[in-house]
Symmetry: C2
């Protein structure tokens, strides 16, 4: 049985995926994959997710150019989560123009913005 | 509105949570939280998840002693994922006795075990 067959997708046919910066270890984003997107990620060596809101494959960076080049792919002890270690092209993973999507830190019962916008989303998505 | 109210839980009342080693950046595990578990995590400053299989709160480390002490809590750009930066007590997050749950690396279409068991689960869970 190959690796793709061993991955466990949920009742919606999806598996959670975490993207982590290969060099710094920073967690960049969280998204979902279906079987096809995991297959394409492996084949292309670039992150391909599944957009639940748009109900279609999401070729990360197709609009922004901020693709994620695969360095390593892991799964967890239960084969039901994927961890991608990636090189983040452009140094921006987040649609807000920040490096990581996890820029809001809990401080005194508020989410405090801890990182600045590298590039204005208007300039990224035109 | 406080931080807990701003977190977005899905139709099952759950939010994905990623635990990352505060010191090394290693991604340790992925689990789910409901509102109560996120509240308890913040209050106790220890990771509390929600077990979907057991349908109840999961006080991480309650059996194993491998609690996760909270260093920082983040949410993402959409407020619908939680990232915990933790000190992993005992250096073991995974129920298999390994540091991280993400120990299976994709190599030539197979998941290859890349880390060794630190402590036999029989000795952890008795």
């Amino acid at each position: 049985m190959d690796a793709l067959e061993q991955a466990k997708f949920d009742e919606q046919g999806l598996i959670p995926a975490i993207a982590q910066d290969f060099a710094t270890g920073e967690v960049l984003m969280f998204a979902w994959m279906n079987k096809k997107s995991l297959l394409l990620t492996i084949e292309k060596q670039q992150a391909v997710y599944y957009s639940r809101s748009r109900k279609k494959l999401w070729f990360k960076g197709e609009e922004s150019g901020h693709t994620q080049l695969i360095k390593e792919i892991y799964t967890d002890c239960d084969n039901d989560v994927i961890l991608l270690k990636v090189e983040q092209v452009g140094g921006i993973a987040c649609h807000t123009g920040r490096k990581s999507c996890f820029f809001q830190k809990l401080e005194y019962n508020n989410w405090k913005n801890t990182s600045k916008v590298i590039k204005d989303p208007k300039d990224i998505y035109g």
